[in-house]
């Protein structure tokens, strides 16, 4: 077991800056997820923790010790790869026990350890098979077994579920969560799937273009995103955005937007360039009775929920998440959207979120 910390870590490949000045501290036993779009540097950052890639500058500490120049083998980490990276010519048993062979452990002791781990991961009936004879889910279990058998201080997962189909992904997600519950070992998990991050993580590190956008609990990221990127990345369907500007009309001084949107301007705060509202905070009302009008273009019925798509004149399409389907006769017609004041997120021109007083209640809710 060990903590991990990074102090102003950067990585360049030639002139290309992959990681830029990352600072983060991961507590012993914590489950941390690195999330971000592809190419954001999350896998590179994980490989820097593992020692597979060296940092161009900065310090990496594991358990308080500076390991920046320590090779991967001596860092006490285990790595689970997206491609599983099993040795194709070895049996499952040898795949799991291979690392122990060079550690001077007796053959029968290795066999016992392999057996224990295999039973834990429910692959004990496959020990004599070769990787190509296994399904994707079984392969990933073997790969996790290979990591587990070494009893590492830190588990590193690089998109371990991306090659699995949806059902299996759900099952393996539960399995990994259970593993963390049982072992209480520090785990760092990389994914591009925000829902995987939300369900697994104690804390999430959101990365974009090699920079940390925000670090926080799933609830903090959802309710109090630091900026437009995090707001848009966390949550599914993603948050709706609308460009706005400060101005005045017959309703007085305020924030104006397309479709006749008028919001009271919060005193003492910078003028927002954009607002965001999550799909689940929106309601459909008859035209002219809501915040602004738009045309209902399409409704998707998912059974337990419905997604409605509304085109705002001179603006983008907004998604509305509804429990019940709106009336079919409304499709193609103008409707109004309504939402509560506290569900509006304000963003400045540089993408930073403008905190408003109602945040405090959100914060309290998040902590509870």
């Amino acid at each position: 077991m060990a903590s991990v910390s990074m102090e102003s870590v950067s990585k360049n490949f030639g002139t290309h800056k992959v990681i830029q000045d990352v600072n983060l501290a991961i507590k012993d036993g914590e489950f941390v997820v690195f999330v971000g779009p592809s190419g954001c540097g999350k896998s590179t950052l994980l490989r820097i923790v593992a020692g597979l890639i060296s940092a161009s500058s900065g310090t990496v500490r594991i358990g308080g010790d500076d390991v920046t120049d320590v090779p991967a083998a001596k860092r006490g980490v285990a790595f689970v790869f997206q491609s599983y990276a099993l040795y194709p010519h070895m049996t499952v048993a040898r795949n799991i026990g291979f690392a122990l062979e060079t550690m001077g452990i007796k053959r029968d002791a290795i066999a016992r350890k392999v057996e224990t781990v295999a039973r834990m991961l429910k692959v004990d009936h496959l020990l004599q098979r070769r990787p190509r004879e296994l399904s994707g889910g079984q392969r990933q279990r073997v790969a996790i077994g290979r990591a587990l058998v070494r009893q590492p201080d830190i588990f590193l997962f690089d998109e371990p579920l991306s090659n699995l189909d949806a059902d299996l992904r759900m099952e393996m997600r539960m399995e990994i969560a259970r593993l963390h519950e049982d072992l209480r070992t520090t785990m760092i998990y990389v994914t591009h799937d925000q829902s995987e991050a939300m369900t697994l993580a104690d804390r999430i590190v959101v990365l974009n273009h090699g920079r940390v956008e925000q670090i926080g609990t799933p609830s903090e990221l959802y309710h109090r995103p630091d900026n437009r990127f995090v707001a848009g990345f966390i949550g599914s369907p993603r948050m709706n955005f609308l460009p706005v500007k400060a101005g005045a009309d017959d309703r007085g001084e305020g924030v104006l937007g397309p479709g006749g949107l008028w919001l009271p301007r919060v005193a003492n705060l910078a003028a927002p360039a954009e607002i965001g509202v999550r799909p689940e905070a929106l309601r459909i009302l008859p035209a002219g009775t809501g915040r602004f009008d738009c045309v209902l273009e399409r409704v998707e019925d998912l059974g337990h929920e419905h997604f409605a798509y509304c085109r705002i004149a001179g603006g983008p399409i907004w998604v509305i998440r509804l429990a019940a389907s709106p009336e079919q006769s409304l499709i193609g017609k103008a409707v109004a959207l309504s939402f509560e004041d506290h569900s509006i997120f304000f963003f400045a021109a540089d993408g930073e979120r403008i905190a408003v007083p109602s945040d405090k209640t959100d914060a309290r809710r998040a902590i509870r």
């Binding site: 597979l52 083998a73 285990a78 790869f81 099993l86 990787p131 190509r132 290979r146």
Partner: protein, 296 residues
């Protein structure tokens, strides 16, 4: 698919295969069939239309000829030694230029040069460099004080096989490098990252991971090179004519057929060469388990 559709697909397939079948008939089946046929006759090359059937006599004549067995021995010695050296060197060089060393692109291109030179040209170049009086090799060795008079590399009977093997290694190691390098680049990078994290030492990584996973690539390379080496003709012939010390089975067959004009015996010798190559191919494919190695 309905029966009629299937029949139409079938006809289309035969239609597309027709040109290939015709070409194979003309360039492979016909000449090979002729060779096989003449092997059972006493025909001479000046007038192949005059012959009588002699059964297996030609095959027995070749089989009982000490020169033939000398040629077989030379061919096998040449094949085993040159292919072994080329495999080890090829593997070493491939591993070296697979890593991201500076100038890797240039090294990869440069390494192909010996292979791109025609065999006859390369052999002639080496023959001159190895010349006992005017050769640059002897000059360098004398100036370095390693020898005091020029060595007759290609004239001395004990050295010439070594020279043939050396030139072959020089010429065809690039081919080995290329095939093994292609195999190396197919290997998943993540497997080696996994081994690095697991603390597998370099030598064990090589023996237990790289080598077993490269086996199919090395196997194919060894098979190609061995079959090529078994029917080697040009290198020995250009360097030493019909010198018995480096006479290969191909040269033996050519001598019987062209020099001695014995179409029947020459054809029988060619058939023996074919059988020898086929036998080695079968043994190699079995030994290297190439038929099973394809799947990961």
């Amino acid at each position: 698919m309905s029966a009629r559709l299937a029949r139409r697909d079938h006809r289309a397939a035969w239609f597309f295969l027709l040109p290939v079948i015709a070409a194979m008939l003309v360039v492979a089946v016909w000449p090979l069939g002729r060779t096989f046929f003449f092997a059972f006759t006493d025909a001479y090359l000046d007038d192949p239309s005059v012959y009588t059937m002699v059964g297996l006599a030609n095959f027995l004549e070749v089989f009982n000829d000490p020169s033939w067995w000398l040629a077989v021995r030379n061919t096998l010695v040449f094949t085993v030694i040159s292919v072994s050296i080329e495999t080890v060197l090829g593997l070493a060089i491939a591993l070296l230029i697979n890593d991201a060393i500076p100038g890797r692109g240039l090294a990869r291109a440069a390494i192909l040069v010996p292979w791109a030179i025609p065999v006859v040209v390369a052999t002639k170049i080496w023959e001159w460099m190895l010349n006992d009086q005017f050769g640059v090799i002897n000059k360098v060795l004398i100036e370095l004080g390693l020898i005091d008079h020029g060595v007759a590399w290609t004239a001395s009977g004990s050295l010439i096989m070594g020279v043939v093997i050396f030139i072959d290694v020089w010429m065809t190691t690039p081919f080995m490098v290329l095939l093994i390098l292609a195999g190396l680049q197919m290997l998943s990078h993540e497997i080696f990252e996994a081994a690095a994290v697991d603390g597998i030492p370099a030598w064990k990584r090589f023996w237990s991971i790289t080598l077993p996973m490269l086996r199919p690539a090395i196997g194919v390379a060894v098979l190609f090179r061995s079959l090529d080496a078994l029917r080697m003709f040009d290198l020995s012939y250009v360097l030493a004519g019909s010198n018995e010390k480096v006479m290969t089975v191909s040269i033996y067959a050519r001598d019987r057929l062209i020099s001695f004009q014995e179409l029947g015996v020459g054809s029988a010798a060619s058939t023996w060469v074919f059988l020898l190559v086929a036998l080695v191919a079968i043994i190699l494919i079995g030994a290297l388990r190439l038929d099973k190695a394809a799947g990961h």
